[in-house]
Structures are given as C-alpha cells and as structure tokens.
Amino acid sequence: MAVTEIKSDAVALEKAIEPSPGALLRRRVFSHMGLMIGGGILLVILAMALLAPLISPHDPYDQILDRKLIPPVWFDSPKVTWAHPLGTDQLGRDYLSRLFWGARISLLIGFAAMLISGVIGTTLGVLAGYFGGRVDMVVNFIITTRLSMPVVLVALAVVSLIGSSLTVVIWVLGLLIWDRFAVVMRSATQQVRGLDFVAAAEALGCSTWRILASEIMPNVTNHLIVVATIEMAHAILLEAALSFLGLGVQPPEPSWGLMIAEAKGLMFFEAWLITIPGTALFLLVLAINLLGDGVRDVTAPENRN
C-alpha cells in the first residue's frame, strides 16, 4: 500500500513539474555519449590552444640542436628528461610546447576554412532554396561545377603555383570545400520555406531579407552546425594531406599536420614523433565528428540515422 502511494506520488510530482523544452534538450545532450565525449575532447584541445602561451614549458620555436630527438619520458632511454615530457623534435624543439601551439594552428585552419566555405556555401544554398527557379538552377550549376573539380589535386596545384603559407592554405581550402554547405542548406531551406510561418511572414509583408534572417536561418541552424563540424574536420585532414606532400603550412609554425609531415621520414625509427601529433589530430577530428553527429541526434531525434 505504502509503496503504491509513493509511486503515484512520484508520478504526480513528475507531472507537476513537466520539463521545459530547454531542460529536455539539456537532458538529451547530457545523456548522449558521443556528444559528451566529443565535446569533452574538443574542450580540452581548445583549452590547450587558448592557454598555449601559459602552459607551454618552452618556446615552441626555440631550437637546441644538441638536444634533438629526445624521446618522451615513458621511453627507456638515458636521454629522457622531465624538462621535455614529450621529448624534442628533429631540431631540438620541445614537442609538448609544439603540440600546444600546433593546436592553435590546426584549429585556426579548420575554423577559418570552415568559416569561409560556410559563408559561401550557406549563401548559395539558402538563396537557391528560398528563391528556387532560375536562382536555384544557377546555384545548382555552380555546385555541380565545383564538385567535378578534384579537390586535392586542385588544392595542390593552386598552392604550388602561388606558393604556400597559412593564409593561402586557409583560403584555398575555404574556397574549395563549400559544396556540402550549399547542398545541405539548399534542401533545408526548401523544407523550411514550405512551412506555414514563412508563408505567414510573407503575407504580413516582411521583406525578403528579414524573412531570410529571422525565419529561415534560425530554423536551419542545426543542419548548419552539423555540416560545419564535418567541413572543419575535412579542412584539418586536407591540411594534413597537403603538409604530407610538403605544400601545407610552412615551418616553423607548428601545425599538427606539419608536425606529422616533418616526422614522417622517421616513421620507421622514431614512431612516437608521428604517433603523438597523429593521435592528437585523430582525436580532434574524431571529437569534431562526434560533436556533429551528436548535434544532429539531439536537435533532430527523428533523423537519428
């Protein structure tokens, strides 16, 4: 008897404090493992990047040629020292400090390239989705043209022809990988455009720009975030591939892709040189992907697959 009473009380209580949509979302967020792991890793990397000047034990550019290739502390070697917990690279620069500073460059490349491609792709996609007709045809044409150019090849060719630098890499990647933004934003906008509140806003005589800004954009943001994460990861990996071929970020900037590229020659001898930035890069891309998947699941549970 008592047990049943307590149970019904609990039900009543739960009914009384019906969770708000915000609380529901929060609950979904916190119970989504991928999202939590991804977000957690990303926060750590972000902290590394932001705090790099404070937490780095050494100057990432400071080379001491006599102290090169000291292995990390967990290696059984007379050279290891706690002064360089992750050892030193081929020029005797502290690997841990380079890893921290490299987080900045890798995140910067991923973020900036994603931003550029996001602006281009979203603009094209939303315009095509909203206006349809001729505009849609033209945008579709631009997307098809872009898709038919092989990304890695064109990026390599362009970077090699105009010379490689951080800015060039960001712009080339940004100008090349906007296609997914355009495709997804176009179809998302098409869906939203057909909904009642857009028709209502139109009937009220709102300006087109106003409708785009206050009715369309807020309702396609979740798609935008998902694509943004994919493209950010994509940009980071592409930079790593460019660096591997010697056409990515230029030294002494410590991007993770560049750290891998500089160490690749020693892959068979000092595998840790490539494993450390490689794992960092892998975790970063993994985290961004998990975050993207999580955002999609949480904001639109019906599209979970």
């Binding site: 550019y61 400071d62 080379q63 630098s165 030294p251 001898f269 000092e270 840790w272």
Partner: protein, 512 residues
Amino acid sequence: MMRSILTGLAAAIAAVSLGVVPSYAGKSDDTLNWATDREVAVVDPYYNNTRELVIQGHMGWDGLLFRDATTGEFQPLLATKWEWKDNVTLEVDLREGVKFHDGSDFDADDVVYTVKHVSNKDNGVLTFRNVGWMKEAEKLASHKVRIHLHKPFPAALAYLSNAVFIVPSGHYDNAPNKADGKKDFGAVKPVGTGPYKMTELKAGEYILWEKHSDYFKASPKGQPTIGKIRFRTIKELNTQLAELLTGGLDWIWDVPKDQAERLQEQGQVTVENAKTMRVSYMAFDVDGDSGQKFFTDKKVRMAVAHAINREAITKNLVGPASSVIHSACHPDQFACTQDVTKWNYDPEKAKALLKEAGYPDGFEFDIYAYRQREYTEAVIGDLAKVGIKAKLTFLQYRKLRDLVWKGQTPINHMTWGSNSIPDVSAITSHFFSGGRDDPAKDDDVIKALAEGDTSTDPEARKMAYKKALAKISAELYWLPMFTYAKYYVYSKDLDFQTTPDEIPRFYSAKWN
C-alpha cells in the same frame, strides 16, 4: 622502435613466405636495383639534364677522356692521345676496336657527327653551356680528329670527360617529329659505347640496363661485372627505406642524417656520408630591390652572419662529410680559396650590430628557400635568438629562381651544385658576373671574374678569382654556408665506392 623492427625483420625472414612477393632481390638474380624520387622519361645525355641521367649517361656512353673522380687526373677513354695545337684547337687520336651497343664500330665520323649535332644551337641540347664552346670537329684520319673551339676555354678537358658523350654517326637523323614539327631527339633509342646498354624503359617506373659484353678491355672505367642495373622511381623516402630493408632495393642516397644514423646503428646495411660539389649559401638583397631595405646596411648583414651557427647546422643536420665554407664556391673547386673574411658565430656581437644599425628590437623579413627545409628552419631559429624574425616562403626551384631574378627576395637561402664542374667559374662567375642571379652587381667583382674566366694561365686565374671571392665575403653579398654531404645507404652485398662529384659509378660496382 628500432629494436622491434629488428625482431620483426628476424621473425619475417624466418616466417614462411606466402609466395606472392616477387623476388627482384639484388644479388640472387644479379640485378642492382637503385632508386631516387625522380622520374626519368628521356634516356639521352643531351636531352635530359637530371642527375639521374648524368649517372646513367656514364653507364651508357663514353666521352673522349675519363676524369678520375678522386685524383682529378684525365685518362684516355675513347681518345688515346690529345694535344692542344693552339689554344682553340685540340687534336685527338681515337681508340680502335671500340664497338657501339648496336654492333657498329667507333671511328672519327662518330665524333664529327656528335660534335656537329650538339654544337648546333638549333638542335636544342638542354645544357648548351656544356657543349656550346665547341665550334666543330674535323676528321683527319679514320681515327684522328681535330676539335675547333670558338674561343679559349680553360675547362675544355673537364667538359670533354663529363659532358660530351659520343653517339654513333647518324644517331639523331631518324628522330620522330614532335607535335610542333620539330624533331624529338630525346625519343631516339639510346646507343652508346658505354659499359651498359639500355634494354627496357618504362617512364615513371624503371629503366633497365644490361651489361655490354663487347665493352673495350682497355677502358679506365673497368669491365662491368653486375649483369643488370635497374633504376626505379620511388617518390616516398619511407617506401625507399622499406624496400631497402626488405631487399627490394640495393642502393639509395639522399637519406637524411637522422635516418642514416639509425640505419648505421642497426648495421643491416652499409651507410656512408660522402662529400658533394653542392654548397649552401644565403644571398642578401644588397640593393634593396625587394622593398625590405634591411640588408642594404652592411651592419645588418654582418649581424645575420654572426647570428647563424653554421658549425652546429653542419654537425647536427648535414653530416660529418660537410664543412662550413667562407668563400662563395666549393673548396674542392679550382681557385676556391678560403683565405677570405670569416664571420664566426657570435650572437652577442650580432645583437650589438643590430643595435648599432638602429634595430635594437630586431625586425621581421621574408626568407625564401627551396631545398632541405630543416636547414632553413635552423637558420630561422638562430635568427630568432638575436631578435630577427624570418618568415619562410618555401617554393619550388623554378618559382624561386624567377623571384630571385626579379630581385624580390630579401634573403634567399639556396644551393648550387656547379653541375659537378670542379672549377670556380661554374659557380662564382655564374652568380657574380652581373647577371640576373647577381645580388650585388659589383664592378670590381665582375671585372676580376671576367679576367679569371678568359685567362689560360692557372696562376693568373687564381689571383683574379681570389680578388673577387675576397670582396664578396668581405662585403657579405653572400653568406657562404656549408658544403653539402650526402648519405648513401646500400646493401651489404654491394661493393660500391662513393665519389665526391655526386655521380655514383654503378658500372664499376661489384657483388661482395
């Protein structure tokens, strides 16, 4: 890591082979496999000027003379005797009984034909400088010719032995036409008198050479002993190392110091560090064309020179066979004196000089490079220590040279291999005679070099070149950095001698 590779290798050798691995392992099938990262599509000593073809040129063809790479002496090869009639006429007696790969006999007509073809500018020999000094060859008897020069050319014998290879008479006559209607001389099937003859070519994959069984006995190159030599193109260093460790390759070079040292510790292959003719230098924008005027001030150039620890770079990054240089040439080249102003490593002095020049907090500028990025990185690191921030732009050679010619590089950190010519004229005169590469266009230097280039008296040449070299180093138009050294890594099965001119003589290699 290395230990685990070793155990892995041992285990692998013991393991049962699945039988899918094709064995082109060297000694067992009498084939020397070597690789570089470059693709060779044209097998002709005149229509391909890559290092890979220079090497294979000496395998497939012979010149009139042979230059001993270690002693520098000239020996008879296709010639038996040579004599200067005057300073523009060289009379040469030719060897009898030499056969080309196609079985035909070698005689004066072949020399006359070769000289006529290559010295004609219209025939488009790639490095025309190598052959353009010859005017013509004149047949005196079936095995006697006279070579006429345009003007006196002190380095003639060096070029005759390293760059003028004899092809059979009529060799290029049936060359196919290119799309633009010109003859494609590079497409002709290679025929020479050399110790090896080419039998297979797959551009971008491999070139196969086989022993020339009729090779003339008296050749100073010796008789070939290894049956086949295969050149392979493998772009990626890791792949080259993997092939070498598993027996797919017998010989590679240009292995970076760190890898070479670890291979040496491991002891499975032979590792050797050898001198090369290539030098590293930094050229300053002395007249300020690039828009960044810092280096128009000699004090700033001196600060840079004192800031860079060339000894440390040489010792830690390049290799034991490398050495720091002080003049704008390679110490092994004729007339390359090191008796010039020397700029020692002294960062404190560098800082003081910067202060004097009005940059107490340093400054930021662009540095350009194209080869061995880690060397330039080391330079940047040293400059950072005295407060100068160098921003690196790393380009391909051609692109960078274009910028250098336009004067757009505040500092370019480049290298020069002198085409393996052991004479100062191949480097100092190339860079400081007032041409596009000349950062200073200093009249004194130009005059002194012109004097050295045209004189035939060795002592007079030395004097003239010394004057030029001393001024270049004193004024710091260039900061000469160091000589390059190359790591060779090859199979323990291979008996191979390195040479200081970066031309491995595979024809004289043997199996142990």
